[in-house]
């Protein structure tokens, strides 16, 4: 023991230095805003590049699936266009109120508890923080941080995320979260027990949040659970989007978002 202590005192100064300096830099990055920003920005630059080149290889393998989904979406849009032409009084409010930016998903995790998505667009393409991301058939996530050419986004499969959602048939609204059980199911809470909820009901976004457009489908009610002692249902929602094979998504931003935020901030 005495020898060990002697050894550490004599030769341990370099290791002590490394450990202490590592602690300092850890604290510097974690508790100081500007150093943290620089660290995240530069790490995003490199990881973004790595993901991008890896994705280039991977995307060849997925070309067929991507083609299929794009063709399907094309068809859907065409159908909408036709119905618009038929009934010219119906204007597409969605188009008018929102900026839409098409992005490619270059990294997507589904295995962890707090999953993130990396997109190939960034500040240079007018992407910004807290834009909503919707896939071909439903919501996908929310932009967390934008670099120059890349962005990271919270996947909806992230236990930190809460999304305002409602049952479209009855208009009861609640909070949607992911319990990290499986990647196809989320849980809708805060729907009162007197509400009429049936299996198969569609769950959509609400207009309460400033992030997603209203009435974007999220999933269907799969199971309604009444936990004793709670005033609300715990509703399992089966997601429409398959989060495990995302490729092309759309980032949306409400055009008058700043206006709404400033007026709502004044209420407080």
């Amino acid at each position: 023991m005495q020898n060990l202590l002697q050894f550490i005192l004599r030769y341990g100064s370099f290791f002590t230095f490394l450990i202490l300096e590592a602690i300092c830099i850890f604290m510097l990055v974690n508790y100081n805003e500007s150093q943290r920003e620089i660290y995240l920005y530069s790490s995003q630059l490199t990881t973004g590049k790595i993901y991008d080149s890896f994705n280039e290889i991977q995307s060849y393998a997925h070309l067929r699936e991507v083609n299929d989904s794009l063709a399907g979406e094309n068809a859907k849009l065409k159908a909408q266009l036709l119905s618009l032409k038929k009934d010219s009084t119906v204007t597409d409010t969605f188009e008018a109120d929102f900026d839409i930016i098409a992005c490619e998903v270059i990294n997507n995790s589904i295995l962890g508890r707090n999953n993130m998505i990396t997109l190939d667009k960034g500040l240079d393409h007018n992407l910004e923080k807290s834009m909503g991301i919707i896939g071909p058939s439903g919501i996908v996530g929310i932009v967390k941080r934008c670099g120059k050419n890349y962005s990271t986004a919270y996947s909806i499969l992230n236990t930190d995320l809460r999304i305002s959602a409602r049952i479209s048939r009855t208009n009861y609204f609640g909070t949607l979260s992911w319990p990290a059980k499986d990647i196809k199911t989320m849980v809708l809470r805060a729907i009162p027990k007197h509400a009429d909820v049936r299996i198969g009901d569609t769950v959509t976004t609400t207009s309460f949040s400033n992030i997603f457009p209203a009435d974007i489908p999220i999933g269907v009610v799969e199971n309604v659970d009444q936990k004793p002692g709670r005033a609300d249902f715990s509703i399992d929602v089966k997601l429409i989007n398959d989060m495990s094979n995302l490729s092309f998504v759309y980032a949306v931003k409400k055009k008058d978002k700043a206006d709404r935020e400033s007026i709502e901030a004044n209420n407080e």
Binding site: T16, C24, M27, N30, Q35
Partner: protein, 173 residues
Amino acid sequence: MKRLPLKNIIRIIVAGLLQVLVFKQIQLGGADFNYFHLLVYPVVIMLLPINLPSVIVLLVSFVTGLGVDAFYDTPGLHAGALVMMGFSRPAVLRFLAPDSGYTKTMHPVANNFGLLWYIQYTSILLFIFLLTYFSLEAFTPVYISSILIKTFLSFIASFVIILLHQIIMNPKS
């Protein structure tokens, strides 16, 4: 003597308080030319006894830095720079060692080795400290010119005070 002398502990506390209560408030360049930072407290690490084990020097640097950081609201910044300086201290001492070497009880003060030696010793260490400090503060090589200007100007300002302290107080240890 492997223990930290009481005198050094008191000096660390007094210099730390002076740094955060007095020197932190002084802005030599004014608000729009914020290049002079008076960072004087590193002198307490320089003045630790020469034969104190380097591990203890590093730990004392770390704790002192964290204490100053608490007042500057920059966790890790002062501590990181001061640990770097504490780590360089043995090398600088070896570099400046007199022909007869250091005797066991010597303290790195002008009284023992002369003022010229003290100026060399403190200026090298202060420069290492300030360069690390401003590099960690900027945290990117992009602002290298600003880092160097700040280091240079702060060095002059801080060094004058460190030297005055030595000349006026002329401590024996």
